[in-house]
């Protein structure tokens, strides 16, 4: 099946015995009717930790001159202010669309 949001292919994963679909593009998760309740019930019953959701991709390699933290969206530049983050996002969006 394809993601209703970004149309990338979705893959099926087993989480606590429940089949869930995760989008390979935006990482969004699709749950069938009742699956969220099943997951919530199972996780509250089980004391042992639930296996983490698949991360999708291993970290890609970067050049030696790359950003020190291989950061996502320049997160290490942020200082917890929404306005700052919004400006950062707008500025990068502008860069994505400019020569």
């Amino acid at each position: 099946m394809h993601c209703p949001k970004c149309h990338a292919p979705m893959q099926t994963y087993n989480r606590s015995g429940v089949q869930i679909e995760q989008c390979g593009g935006c990482r969004g998760i699709f749950l069938d009717y009742g699956e969220l309740e099943t997951l919530t019930r199972l996780e509250s019953q089980w004391s042992r930790p639930v296996p983490p959701a698949p991360q999708g991709y291993p970290a890609p390699s970067a050049p030696a001159w790359g950003a020190p933290y291989g950061g996502h969206g320049g997160g290490h530049h942020e200082h917890g202010h929404h306005g700052h983050h919004d400006h950062h996002r707008r500025s990068f969006t502008h860069m994505l669309f400019s020569s």
């Binding site: 593009g25 991709y57 390699s61 970067a62 030696a64 320049g74 990068f92 994505l96 400019s98």
Partner: protein, 294 residues
Amino acid sequence: MTILPALTAHVRADGTPAAPTTLADRPDATVLRLGDTVVKAHAPGTDPAQLARRLETAARLPGILLPPLTPATEVLRDRLITSWPYGTPVDPGNPAAPWESVAGLLARLHHSTPGPALPPMRGPAKAARAVTRLRAVRHARLHPGARPVLDAWAALPAWARAEAPMPGPAALCHGDLHLGQLVRHPAPDGPWLLIDVDDLGLGAPAWDLARPAAWFACGLLPPDDWTRFLTAYRAADGPAVPAAGEPWPALDVPARALTVQTAALAITKAAAADRPLDTVEQAVVDACARMPAR
């Protein structure tokens, strides 16, 4: 003087009462949309023969490049004009960029047979122009970011600075890839196609991967987006990087050049507006400072 009023009159020459929408009005390009038609006034000084070869390429590869409405250019005052069908651009508000589609289009473009007499891809020339603009900014030498950018530029091989022919087997390249160079045609939900043939030509195909590579290396593009793009390009058998193993030996020089180009334009714009660099611009300048010296 801007070509905008003359181009507007040109678009409405058939007496249509509707007013066109201005999609872009920059010194190097003015683009208007009227209904299903988009007209572009190309940069002053554009070579008519070279633009004609590039238009022919777009007409010849309709599943990869948006084909022009007419195969010939027109002349309006001192500018060359081309006409295109309207396509729906990438939505800047939607973070789910079509990375797989871009990668597949580039791989097919890079494998296409170029037409005769196609000029070189203009990527390195655009990078050189950005550095020339930085050097021309008054007080640019005083800008704390200018020195690392110019040093990183000087350390690049001559071909990446447009001072020598590009190495390796030449492929058909777009030359200026970014997310503004994609449209869905027919609008609104046809397949994605590449637009803007002004920099298209023969050259090193890694240049077309170098902007996303540079954004990732600068810590701006999320690693998963970069991986999606690179994986899809390899899955489509793209020739710019080896099918497996390290992609960076092939990407390093063009990604450094695009980082320098982006940093140079950012400093030029910030200096013109007399404002400091923002965090995104600073990240690109910082990457230049970490690059190897000559």
